[in-house]
Amino acid sequence: MQVTMTVNGVEYSREIEGRMLLVHFLRDVLGLTGTHWGCDTSNCGVCVVWMDGEPVKSCTVLAAMAGGHEVRTVEDLADGAELDPIQEGFRQCHGLQCGFCTPGMLMTCRALLDKNPDPTEGEIREAISGQICRCTGYSSIIRSVRWAAVHEATSAREQQEVAAQ
């Protein structure tokens, strides 16, 4: 079957089998290997991408179901050489070790900050509770999200001050 979707702002049309999973479509068909695959059962969250702005587990979404929708993956977070604040937070606070769960974590945490720019520790834990990281023990991920929240608030304030002048 023919599927057409927008991935990271680019429209793609491809002939695929109806049973193909979105994670395989992104990785094997489009070559976007930043999104990983980890469990098949929606437990681990390494495959999280955005569909129309909402984090979804791409191992349990058929590529066909993403037809006509906008998908965003980890490859779209950085703006050229400049990291998104959530990526910079992970870098500053050692929010990753092996890096395998990281793309999914980043997408979930970016979505959290877009909805809630000042999340508490508890809110961050809740937000990433559908994802498993075997390396970090989560504290540094929580710290990373807080880093991004604080720095985004600071830069927003600075922009307002510049605008006010």
């Binding site: 089998e17 049973r19 193909m20 395989h24 990785r27 094997d28 070559g31 976007l32 290997t33 930043g34 999104t35 990983h36 695959w37 980890g38 469990c39 098949d40 059962t41 437990n43 681990c44 390494v46 980890v74 490859e75 977070l77 950085a78 990291l83 990526q87 992970f90 870098r91 500053q92 606070c93 050692h94 990753l96 070790q97 092996c98 890096g99 395998f100 769960c101 990281t102 793309p103 520790e121 961050i124 834990r125 809740e126 990433i128 509770s129 994802q131 498993i132 990281c133 075997r134 390396c135 970090t136 023990g137 989560y138 504290s139 540094s140 991920i141 929580i142 710290r143 807080r146 880093w147």
Partner: protein, 797 residues
């Protein structure tokens, strides 16, 4: 000694320090991993690449009567279907394990565990390969399985290893350490003897990336390229050469980015060999990537020890001796990855951190119809089991003596002046200073206040527990005089080359799976040579481009390869000194090394930097007599001893009296891993290990029903901790350098996985003290805690 407490969750170092040497430094590898530009095995995409899927046994024990592959072969996209019979013809049906046993690459005669490899399909895409598996028709004759490890040696037990000539039982090995007669004598004269049966259930490392490989055999060159999820690329290459008969120089093993290992990626799995065979048979690159269920049911498990622990002490709480009897479940093949002279790994360190008069251990290992493995999950070669045993039985002793568990430990520690300390089982602890570590943990926890709070809560019927664990690890295997894996000595090579412009490349035999080698090894070279870490490229995980060595597991990278890196840098520095003396026209005796440059003694203005020296080494003009051009060196480091990190952990739990749910409220971890290279990375290693500990203590277990069906075959059934099950970790450290390691570092990768389970279990048992509970086995799930509260605690197996 220095002692410090790490930052709290709400604090962060908002900086990008760039130390030339040791200190907090952001990781070099993060730039690609954060952008989705990591390159993991499943990301490898080669032109014409085919996909491989494995048909696995649905039964734990069955004879294979027949296999019909004709329908599968005719299935769309299928290029090859291979069975055990095919491999038999090639002499590849069996392969050696890391413990001198053999394991079936594909089953020929019978299957011996659920999930065992029976056939594989190579097809054009992953979906077609899976489809074809459904079309393979295997007729099995089901046999009685051996599932209950306690019955494995009964006279009427079915014999699992009928492939081993003359095998008439399920016995793998007996092993013994310590002095039995002396231990019995000390026990006979002791005031108090306490005995407890303790089970460490089977668990699984479950790295987020499952195991897999891409094999690309070039028939013209006769060269095999294998990308694989391996923690030990060089050891694997040697074994492939032995198994497949491909000359070793014609095999290149590449471990690209690895999505966590924890010991799961040390063994050679049949799937890796399948991909090699698949590529040779089809003439195309072949990718094999297992799914999560395959990872959980067939790859290296950990633990599965049934232990009887006995401790002898005086009435005043002086511990005299420990003895233990262990029944070890090794599954269907003995796939344990440990130095061959240590069939039970380093379990011999079960004497812990205490000054004993005697100790003795007897162990029997058996085959069962379960997946092979045995050493995995950040266990430091069975030290996890040893530490759990001693730290649990010491707590049981404290319970019986009605002593505070912290006080009991403090009373029995090996004293600083006793190091190097030879244990009653023959291990030589290199250095240690235990009391300050313990005191710091107690101070950070507010131990006395916690006990007061607990007393108040108990009076109100609330269940709060405080658990302590104090561990000594033995890591950095190891001295080649007594440690090898299949004859390969456990030394590690290192090569360092300084380019003309003063930038450098260092090549390692070990391989990161997330530990941050690209950063810490650059820091080691930077510390020794004064070249900034950003100017040092760390090459690893490619056997064509790195020196030989045994790889990363058992926390051995820093103790062995880290030492090699420091020493190779010193070798380069020694040569640089000769060149500097010529450049400055003074004798070498008149030069001082000030990190990054040589200065003339008493005249700091007269100096040359390492970068100046590098250019001179490669440049025109004369060099001192006998000095070759270039600035590079290589070494192979053979450690003279293991290193012995230690730590004090305190866990605080609350147990809901209504639901028996355990909540880990606080966890204080003070680690002493000797010299600290990058505190940020060390803290991360500890946090991850503590989370493993919560998983094992409260959630994780691979269990089987009576037919041998694995009941933990997905992440819905095998529970791993999420952010909701763990607290914000509180970490601190002390520093007792290793005397024989060139920079004094001891390794920290597994400390927390080893040290945390007993602290958590001790805390839960402490919470249940009002019910008269003195022991309960992991995993302490609500139902198992509920049973314990009612005096009905049962072993998990």
């Amino acid at each position: 000694m220095s002692t410090t407490q790490d930052a709290k969750l709400t604090e962060f170092d908002d900086n990008d320090q760039k130390p030339i040497g040791f200190g907090r430094m952001l990781r070099k590898e993060d730039a690609r991993l954060l952008r989705g530009r990591g390159r993991f095995v499943d990301d490898v995409q080669l032109p014409g690449m085919l996909h491989l899927a494995i048909l696995r046994s649905p039964f734990a024990h069955a004879t294979i009567v027949s296999i019909d592959t004709s329908a599968a072969e005719a299935s769309p996209g299928v290029k090859a279907v291979v069975t055990g019979e095919t491999l038999k013809g090639l002499g590849l049906a069996w392969m050696p394990t890391l413990s001198n046993d053999v394991q079936a690459v594909l089953a020929t005669d019978k299957v011996r565990f659920q999930g065992q490899e029976v056939a594989f399909v190579v097809a054009e895409d992953r979906y077609q390969a899976r489809d074809a598996l459904e079309l393979i028709d295997v007729e099995y004759d089901v046999l009685d399985p051996v599932i209950d490890v306690r019955k494995a040696l009964e006279p009427d037990a079915p014999i699992i290893r009928t492939d081993l000539e003359g095998k008439t039982n399920n016995h793998v090995f007996d092993w013994e350490t310590g002095d039995e007669a002396e231990t019995d004598r000390v026990f006979a004269s002791a005031d108090v003897i306490v005995t407890e049966d303790i089970v460490y259930p089977r668990v699984h490392p479950a790295p987020m990336e499952t195991c897999g490989s891409v094999a690309d055999f070039d028939p013209v060159e006769g060269k095999l390229k294998l990308w694989s999820t391996t923690q030990a690329p060089h050891a694997h290459r040697t074994l492939y050469a032995i198994v497949a008969g491909i000359p070793e120089h014609k095999i290149q093993v590449i471990a690209p980015d690895i999505g966590g290992g924890f010991g799961n990626k040390v063994p050679i799995y049949p799937g890796y060999v399948h991909s090699i065979v698949g590529s040779i048979v089809t003439g195309k690159p072949v990718k094999w990537m297992e799914d999560r269920s395959e990872n959980l049911i067939s790859t290296g498990f950990a633990r599965d020890y049934i232990m009887r622990a006995e401790i002898a002490a005086t009435n005043e709480g002086k511990i005299l001796a420990i003895r233990t009897n262990v029944l070890a479940d090794h599954g269907a093949f003995n796939g344990t990855a440990a130095p061959v002279k240590y069939p039970a790994g380093f379990f011999g360190v079960f004497t812990g951190s205490y000054d004993l008069q005697a100790a003795h251990c007897k162990m029997t290992a058996v085959y069962t119809n379960k997946a092979p493995g045995g050493v995995a999950y950040a266990c430091s070669f069975r030290i996890t089991e040893a530490v759990y045993l001693v730290e649990r039985i010491v707590d049981v002793l404290a319970y019986e003596l009605q002593m505070d568990p912290a006080e009991l430990r403090l009373k029995n520690f090996i004293q600083p002046e006793q190091f190097p300390y030879t244990t009653k089982t023959g291990w030589v602890y290199d250095s240690g200073n235990y009391e300050p570590t313990m005191r710091l943990a107690m101070e950070m926890a507010g131990y006395d206040e916690l006990r007061k709070e607990q007393a108040e809560k108990r009076a109100r019927g609330e269940l709060m527990g405080i658990g302590i664990s104090f561990f000594t690890e033995a890591v950095g295997a190891g001295p080649r005089k007594n440690m090898d894996i299949l004859g390969l000595g456990m030394a590690d090579g290192c090569e360092l080359r300084v380019h003309p412009t003063g930038k450098a490349v260092v090549r390692l035999s070990v391989k990161t799976q997330g530990q941050g080698h690209e950063t810490t090894f650059a820091q080691i070279i930077a510390e020794e040579l004064g070249i900034p870490p950003a100017d040092i490229d760390v090459v690893h995980g490619d056997t064509d481009n790195t020196p030989f060595g045994l790889g990363t597991y058992g926390s051995r990278s820093t103790p062995v390869s880290g030492a090699a890196a420091a020493l190779v840098a010193r070798k380069v520095r020694d040569k640089a000194k000769l060149i500097a003396s010529a450049m400055l026209e003074v004798s070498v005796a008149d030069l001082d090394w000030v990190k990054g440059s040589f200065q003339v003694k008493g005249d700091p203005g007269m100096s040359v930097t390492i970068q100046d020296i590098a250019f001179r080494a490669h440049g025109a003009g004369d060099l001192p007599d006998g000095v070759e051009g270039g600035l590079e060196a290589q070494i192979c480091y053979n450690p003279s001893n293991l290193t012995y990190p230690h730590g004090a952990y305190i866990c605080v739990v609350d147990v809901d009296p209504g639901t028996a749910e355990v909540k880990v409220r606080r966890f204080i971890a003070v680690d002493d891993c000797g010299t600290r290279i990058n505190p940020m990375i060390i803290e991360g290693q500890v946090h991850g290990g503590l989370t493993d500990g919560v998983g094992m203590a409260l959630m994780e277990m691979i269990s089987f029903d009576e037919d041998g069906n694995c009941l933990g075959a997905s992440l819905m059934d095998y529970l791993l901790p999420t952010a909701l099950e763990v607290p914000d970790w509180e970490t601190g450290f002390t520093v007792t350098p290793s005397p024989h390691h060139p920079i004094g570092a001891k390794g920290v990768g597994e400390s927390a996985t080893v040290g945390s389970p007993p602290a958590i279990v001790n805390a839960v048992v402490d919470a249940l003290k009002p019910f008269g509970v003195r022991h309960a086995d992991m995993p302490l799930t609500p139902s198992r805690v509920w049973d314990a509260m009612r005096g009905q605690a049962t072993p998990p197996i």
